[in-house]
Homo-oligomer: 303 residues x 2
């Protein structure tokens, strides 16, 4: 069993949805990823926080075998994000984004992290993602996320990083934007040509679709009774998927499929509560139960 | 093996998509359904056409064991519809709807049809759907489709029909509209309370989701390389699904799941060519191949 390095944001989020409003919860892509992946393997977090990130905040990670020796602490404030979701949780409006200490962030991997065999490059500037790859000796699994902003403004940098990526996770709209293909199938195939061995298209309530070396794999979302807060679901998916891959010790087709089910289950726990609360409470057994339920709700006899 | 009665529209469609424009093709919900279901069971079509519906048009049905003795021929023109699809095939604009002889249509089942055990009430006025049910002796399978117009303008009539329905097929937006539920899961459960034993939510490129007596079943769309014309895909799905159910002679969970895979495969053939052309060419073996491919692309090991 190997450990995983994650590089991304650690933030304070204020989130309002039709069911409530919560202020200054711990958020950020690296936080969601870490809380999900830690159920499978030790996690090494690389990021930056300000002096307002208190011991009680660190404790959330430290209590869960998440190594914070790569978490820089800088004078100033931690990245702050405020968003509002509509009745349809796909409708999200950003109220405030304060980059704060994140604005001048450059990832620095502690020496002990450099020989890590797996890394998740969460949604940050592709130039920083590239800097991380240069600090790693020879990772066996490079996984990456991105967003529309980088596709629009730093496409060349993103394409350079993509050449060295094994697993690329992105959403429908990003896949279409990156390739210009109107259909998601053409888009996924086109992205595979850019480097990634496996392309996972995250489709929110519709589940996820993967283009692998063998072809297509599709899995629905786990049917959650009450979706509360979709913040961080994509990073939770990545944490469950990559954690499961490392636990399985394989990147073959069967491992990828099982891992996507774990990612799907993990995202369902994340969406059920505000902020990290869903992931803080999740157990290995509760994930396995949902993975089995997903297998049951997709199984059919073709004859 | 039983036969199925379908009541719906038979039309001439003019369709423009980014890949081309085709004028006055045979269309209508009953046509798509018939061409799909005929691969499984004999089909009895109930509808109305005008005097412009020529022998060569009838031949498309008669060559495929589709019984037209319930197809009324009236003085006047056949229902005519013209639509334009955008680059994103989900964007559809209706240019012209001429109801013509369909405007005064009342379904009349030939005596031989009244003892039929299965009926598909395609998307027509729920009052007419009710008239059909009154003419059937005691059907074992009543399946129904509808659209936003009837939900808005004749909800009470629709709710009356729904009480006697076993299988209700509708799309995401219709399900939300009918129940007022923001989430599709709550919507499907709410609709089940209105009468239907099985609720199938059609989600286009995202596949289909069923709420059955046992719980949830989800199946992705078959990955079609070139989607050309989505007209009639929902009715093709219904034809494949209901045909398969009747062929299996069962409405149990396993039969429903297999049948949804057949519906999914059938819709994929419909979308690949303009109008009915995809369904005219389809064979039992080609459907079975896609059903097996769907099983393969959704299978995973939960452990």
């Amino acid at each position: 069993m190997s450990e995983v390095v994650v590089v991304g944001s650690v933030a304070f989020d204020t989130i309002a949805t039709p069911t409530g409003r919560h202020e200054r919860m711990i958020g950020g892509s690296a936080s969601y990823f870490s809380l999900a992946a830690r159920l499978y393997v030790p996690v090494r977090l690389v990021g930056v926080v300000g002096s307002d990130f208190e011991p009680r905040h660190r404790k959330v990670f430290e209590d869960r075998r998440i190594d914070l020796s790569g978490l820089q602490v800088r004078d100033g404030k931690t990245f702050y994000w405020e968003g509002v979701y509509g009745e349809d949780l796909n409708d999200r409006t950003t109220v405030t984004t304060e980059l704060n200490v994140f604005e001048s962030f450059h990832p620095e991997l502690p020496d002990a992290f450099r020989r890590s065999k797996a890394v998740f490059l969460a949604n940050i500037d592709p130039v920083l993602q590239h800097e991380v790859l240069e600090q790693l000796d020879s990772p066996d699994l490079v996984a990456l996320d991105t967003m529309n902003f980088w596709i629009t403004h730093q496409k060349e940098d993103l394409l350079r990083v993509l050449r060295g990526v094994h697993l690329f996770l992105l959403n429908d709209a990003e896949a279409r934007q990156l390739t210009g293909a109107p259909g998601i199938l053409e888009a996924a195939e086109g992205i595979q040509m850019m480097g990634p061995t496996v392309v996972v298209i995250k489709r929110g309530e519709y589940g996820a679709l993967a283009r692998t070396e063998k072809g297509w794999f599709s899995i629905p979302a786990y049917p959650v009774g009450g979706a509360i807060d979709p913040t961080g679901c994509g990073d939770s998916f990545a944490g469950g998927m990559i954690g499961s891959l490392l636990r399985q010790g394989s990147l073959d087709e069967s491992a990828i499929r099982t891992a996507m089910a774990h990612g799907t289950a993990m995202a369902s726990f994340a969406v059920e509560r505000f902020g990290l609360a869903g992931l803080e409470a999740v157990t290995e057994e509760s994930v396995r139960q949902r993975v089995r339920a997903l297998a049951e709700m997709t199984r059919f006899d073709p004859e």
